[in-house]
């Protein structure tokens, strides 16, 4: 009986949180058009969330691509079709690996930075100080960070995919001897605009989801050191789970 009560309480807490986040998302969308007028604030956040994540995204993209090159070559060799490495790797990167891994890295790098920054602003009364100065922190702080993250994610996904393809090429063509002409021409022949669109849509959706989770958790963090830590952890965990769940839903819808 205790277990049931406990479960019901947890379910209720979960639903309340989902409701609160949905309302928060609605508020963000409502305030976004006005925030676009102060473009400089958004550019700053694109720099913070996007440009500062470039090194980690490019490094990981390169190594994911190189591993894909090795594994793909090993697999395709068994069927004697190593020349299709370019096609297989491009589709894998465009449709799945690019958006998903970028989202996971984005949550770990930019998401945690956003959540901890907002949580610390809450804990050190910076958000309250803004309210007293008659400045709405949602408009001035939260919305630009949300938009900055949401804009950065698809761009980072594109960078990840490009660097990943370079990694595949590096291992497949330069190291393992796949024919360069075949590699690129088969890729160009097989990859369609729809595949690119699928990756782009996923990048946009994951970007909105991860940015929303980060700003929501940070803005609503308990104003203590422990609260900020918990908000940061929750940002990574929830972003990872939501990304993978959304990935399945989007893939099912777009296939």
């Amino acid at each position: 009986m205790d277990l049931l009560t406990d479960l019901l309480a947890k379910l209720r807490g979960f639903l309340e949180r989902v409701g609160a986040m949905t309302r928060f998302f609605g508020q963000l969308l409502w305030l976004s058009p006005g925030a676009l007028l102060r473009f400089r604030l958004i550019v700053e956040q694109v720099y913070n969330a996007g440009a500062l994540s470039l090194v980690i995204i490019m490094t990981c993209g390169l190594f994911v691509g190189m591993v894909l090159g090795l594994q793909g070559h090993d697999l395709l060799q068994r069927f004697g079709s190593e020349d299709s490495l370019g096609t297989g790797a491009a589709l894998a990167l465009l449709k799945e690996l690019g958006p998903v891994i970028t989202a996971l890295l984005f949550a770990g790098r930019a998401g945690t930075a956003l959540a901890s920054e907002l949580g610390l602003m809450r804990a050190t009364d910076q958000l309250s100080a803004m309210e007293i100065m008659a400045v709405d922190p949602m408009k001035r702080v939260v919305v630009p960070r949300f938009l900055g993250g949401a804009i950065s994610m698809p761009l980072l996904t594109a960078v990840f995919i490009m660097v990943g393809l370079f990694g595949v090429q590096l291992v497949g063509v330069q190291l393992l001897g796949v024919d360069q002409g075949q590699f690129w021409s088969q890729m160009r022949g097989a990859v369609e605009l729809d595949d690119i669109r699928e990756g782009l849509i996923k990048g946009v959706v994951f970007g909105i989801a991860c940015s929303l989770i980060a700003v929501f958790e940070g803005y609503n963090a308990q104003p203590t050191a422990e609260g900020v830590g918990r908000a940061t952890t929750r940002t990574v965990v929830i972003s990872a789970v939501v990304t993978l769940v959304l990935d399945y839903i989007l893939t099912a819808l777009m296939l």
Binding site: Q126, A134, V135
Partner: protein
């Protein structure tokens, strides 16, 4: 100092029309814990008013009620003739533009330097030429003695400096009312003296009204025109610092003299020590 005639010690003065802010029979609770019960406070225009009391008596909550960040369960909070709880968002923000607040830790925006922190309210609310913004910011920084620190980052400031920058920011929009939340906490004696003199001199030079929440009795007694002592959700005494010093109430005496024990008990409620040590109470 104020020209007002202070009411007799121990009597809660009724709010008068000249009050810049007043709490009328305000009740407020958080999570079932009563913070205020029918509290009545009047803040007179042009005065430095001290709100004192032991920790946890809701002094900061009182400031948040005045700024409209919290709404009372019952009663009215009136600032400059307007009932704060009844104001819509737009009117509340308009009212807040006439307020400045100094937070305990300064609450400077950590992604902006000192100059931009002070300029922040101007940039948000007024479209002024950069030259005027610069002159206004430097003037206010000069008033708190930190014109030379304009290019520093908040992390490079000491606690006292951060509070002075926050004070410059609080007065940049020429407010009518300034609220201070524990302005002396954690400061060295020199910084404390500087902040203390600034509160008084800004109040008089700018013709504003100041509310100072503190438990630093000695410091605030030197600059306050009127003081309130809160305890157990109510005003237990009010008057000029001298009147409070001679107040007959045991709790006021304990607070003003800083005595460890008295009506506010030194010990948190616990079972009898002997019984507990002999393990007869079942408590840890």
């Amino acid at each position: 100092m104020s020209q007002h005639q202070a009411p007799a010690a121990g009597v809660e003065p009724a709010a008068v029309p000249d009050d810049i802010a007043a709490l009328h029979d305000v009740d407020y609770s958080i999570d079932g814990k009563v913070i205020f019960r029918g509290i009545r406070i009047g803040i007179r225009r042009g005065d430095v008013t001290a709100i004192m009391g032991p920790s946890g008596t809701g002094k900061t909550t009182l400031l948040r009620l005045i700024t409209g960040q919290l709404r009372p369960d019952a009663g009215r909070v009136v600032v400059d003739g307007r009932d704060v709880a009844r104001l819509g968002r737009r009117d509340l923000y308009a009212l807040r533009r006439r307020m400045g607040m100094l937070f305990q830790n300064g609450a400077l925006l950590t992604d902006l330097d000192v100059f931009e922190n002070v300029a922040f309210p101007l940039r948000e609310h007024a479209r002024l030429p950069e030259r005027i913004v610069r002159n206004l910011v430097l003037t206010k920084l000069h008033a708190v003695g930190l014109r030379g620190a304009a290019q520093l980052q908040p992390r490079q400031l000491s606690g006292g400096m951060a509070r002075r920058v926050a004070l410059a920011r609080a007065i940049i929009m020429d407010p009518q009312i300034l609220l201070y939340d524990e302005p002396f906490a954690g400061l060295d004696p020199i910084s404390m003296g500087v902040v203390m003199r600034l509160i008084r001199s800004l109040n008089d030079a700018l013709g504003i009204s100041s509310i100072v929440v503190t438990h630093d009795v000695r410091e605030i007694s030197q600059i306050a025109d009127m003081s309130y002592i809160l305890s157990d959700g109510q005003v237990v005494a009010s008057g000029t610092p001298r009147e409070l010093h001679d107040h007959p109430s045991p709790i006021v005496h304990q607070f003003m003299e800083g005595l460890a024990d008295g009506p506010v008990s030194f010990h948190y409620p616990a079972p009898d020590l002997r019984e507990q040590l002999l393990d007869r109470t079942g408590a840890k």
